[in-house]
């Protein structure tokens, strides 16, 4: 569905050139739900704007929806749906007007656009709002209207830029459901950007991590977590046994980062589920009693930290710049 090689974009402003995206390779297959994760300013939106024909790459090639991005942008436009970060509806228009014009720009007849709009409104829970002015919709309704507009021509590939930014937790969970069902019921390929770890984690089959304009990691959420940092294990033992327990832990295959604090031992292993029985046996063999035991699956934040040396939240501190629009 998407095949990009060496996609790059350099912006020039006031004599300085800024490499917003430096040579991104990416492949998205039909039916996948792929997340593009990275802090603000990492190059997510710039990459997306290139893939959706809004911005011409300064280098690289790509095929999107079967059409060549550079040679046939109109072909790409016909195949894809795009929902921008801030949406794209005019407050002074009626909902039905937006639906109709969007459909007709994709070549649908008026009747088809209206019928398809009604279908989508039903699916996205915005039915009955047709005559309302866009400015009177709630944030969640507006977001779902944006998505309906992006799907009006039943594209096989949809780009969602930060789809849940600015939504309350309930609307966010609701939108996640809609995105999942897009794929499940209609086989739509979804490529979304997000800077929410939990969003990428719960929604995506596969995640691409981008930082400073380059893809720094790629894989399923579980792969990424396993590959990068392993699971964290926290063992509480009586204070006098902490040293022994730490020794036991250090001898486990693949154990790293063993630390002790008072009566707690923390360490990492590639896979917590297989390491646990061994740990229990070894502690038992030494006669060390256990007061508590916890396994933490690593979060994507750990992944990001180990890839870039920064947490995703650090990376967002001002001064890093906002997304290059």
């Amino acid at each position: 569905m998407i095949e990009a090689r060496g996609l790059a974009r350099t912006f020039r402003s006031r004599g300085r050139s800024v490499e917003a995206v430096r040579g991104v390779d990416l492949d998205v297959h039909a039916g996948e739900l792929v997340g593009f994760l990275g802090p603000n300013g990492a190059g997510k939106t710039t990459t997306l704007r290139m893939l959706t024909t809004l911005l011409r790459p300064t280098a690289g090639t790509a095929t999107v929806g079967g059409a060549d991005l550079l040679a046939d942008p109109v072909g790409v436009r016909k195949k894809i749906g795009y929902v921008a970060q801030g949406g794209g509806t005019a407050p002074e228009c009626r909902v039905i007007e937006e639906i109709e014009i969007q459909g007709r720009f994709y070549g649908l007849s008026k009747a088809d656009a209206v019928r398809r709009g009604a279908e989508l409104s039903e699916q996205l829970d915005i039915a009955g709002l047709e005559q309302r002015l866009v400015r009177t919709l709630s944030g969640g309704q507006k977001r779902r209207l944006d998505i309906a507009l992006g799907l009006i021509h039943s594209p096989g590939l949809v780009f969602l830029d930060e789809p849940t930014t600015g939504l309350d937790p309930q609307s966010r969970a609701n939108l996640w459901e809609h995105i999942r069902s897009l794929r499940a019921e209609h086989g739509v390929t979804v490529f979304l950007t997000t800077h929410y770890l939990e969003e990428a984690d719960s929604l995506c089959d596969r995640i691409l991590v981008i930082d400073n304009g380059e893809i720094v990691a790629e894989g399923t959420p579980d792969d990424l977590k396993a590959q990068v940092s392993g699971d964290g294990i926290t063992v509480d033992v009586p204070a006098e046994s902490v040293g022994d327990a730490a020794e036991v832990a250090a001898r486990l295959p693949g154990a790293t980062d063993v630390t002790t604090v008072e009566n707690t031992v923390r360490f990492r292993v590639p896979r917590g589920d297989t390491a646990l029985p061994e740990l229990l046996r070894a502690l038992d063999g030494k006669g060390i009693p256990l007061t508590s035991l916890q396994v933490q699956r690593p979060s994507l934040d750990d992944v990001f930290l180990s890839m870039t040396g920064r947490t995703l939240r650090d990376a967002e501190t001002p001064g890093e710049g906002s997304d290059v629009a």
Partner: protein
């Protein structure tokens, strides 16, 4: 392309028709000139040598039409900046819609809007102030007004896309349109008899001054080559240039 242009045109007409007040607000300024300045001009025109032929209303009414354009159509780009901020422009640009249609649909809307305003203004001048002018002249003048709308709104969109700031844009427009308007001789025609030499020369550099002359000529029924040719040619040239400029700016990525 034509279908897309029509769709864009209809979209903006629907928005305007929902808020017809804006059309009226747009003609408030020229109406006030008509009401509060027009009567003053009657005596001055008849007693001061150097005015072009025609009575005061025939001099003022076409001028107010030009003003309507310079302060109405010229600000069309403002709506585009709003659409840019709301992401509407970007959303539509990801669809296969023709870029040129996105411009022409808007320009067509602005032209119709200016035409309606011009008609309203002339109606008031006719009914309330007893302005009289040959029908053919008025029609020709309205055609020129429409071309003026095409020119000014195309240029306005091009400038809006280059400036891209809702704060800077109105300041820029005022900076441009006030001198342009004054140099057309809107209130007192800039003729060789009335104006100092330098001011006259300056006004001749202003394309809108030639358009103004042609509008005034047609308004008083002077269809001579002398009265119309320069203004018409200048108008056609600036129309083509402005549409070309607007189209090129709209075609460009990131617009």
């Amino acid at each position: 392309m034509l279908r897309d242009t029509w769709l864009v045109f209809r979209r903006h007409m629907a928005i305007s028709l929902r808020n017809p007040a804006w059309v009226l607000i747009g003609i408030m300024q020229p109406l006030l000139y008509l009401l509060l300045f027009g009567p003053l001009m009657e005596k001055i025109v008849s007693s001061t040598p150097g005015f072009p032929p025609g009575d005061s209303w025939q001099i003022l009414a076409p001028a107010l039409l030009v003003q309507l354009g310079l302060f109405g159509s010229m600000f069309a780009g403002f709506a585009l900046l709003g659409d840019l901020r709301n992401g509407v422009v970007e959303r539509l640009r990801v669809t296969p819609v023709s870029r040129l249609a996105l411009l022409l649909g808007r320009v067509l809307h602005d032209t119709v809007q200016l035409l309606v305003q011009a008609l309203l203004l002339l109606l008031v001048a006719y009914l309330v102030f007893g302005m009289r002018a040959p029908v053919a002249g008025v029609l020709l003048c309205l055609i020129m007004v429409m071309l003026l709308a095409v020119t000014l709104s195309s240029a306005s969109y091009a400038m809006a896309l280059l400036v891209r700031s809702e704060e800077a844009f109105p300041a820029l427009l005022t900076t441009i349109s006030v001198p342009l308007l004054l140099l057309t001789g809107i209130l007192i025609p800039i003729t060789t008899d009335l104006a100092p030499r330098w001011l006259y020369v300056l006004s001749r550099i202003n394309p809108f001054a030639h358009v103004m002359d042609a509008e005034r000529a047609s308004f008083r029924g002077d269809f001579s080559v002398d009265g119309l040719l320069t203004g018409s040619v200048v108008l056609l040239v600036i129309t083509v240039l402005a549409v070309w400029w607007g189209a090129r700016t709209f075609q460009k990525e990131n617009a």
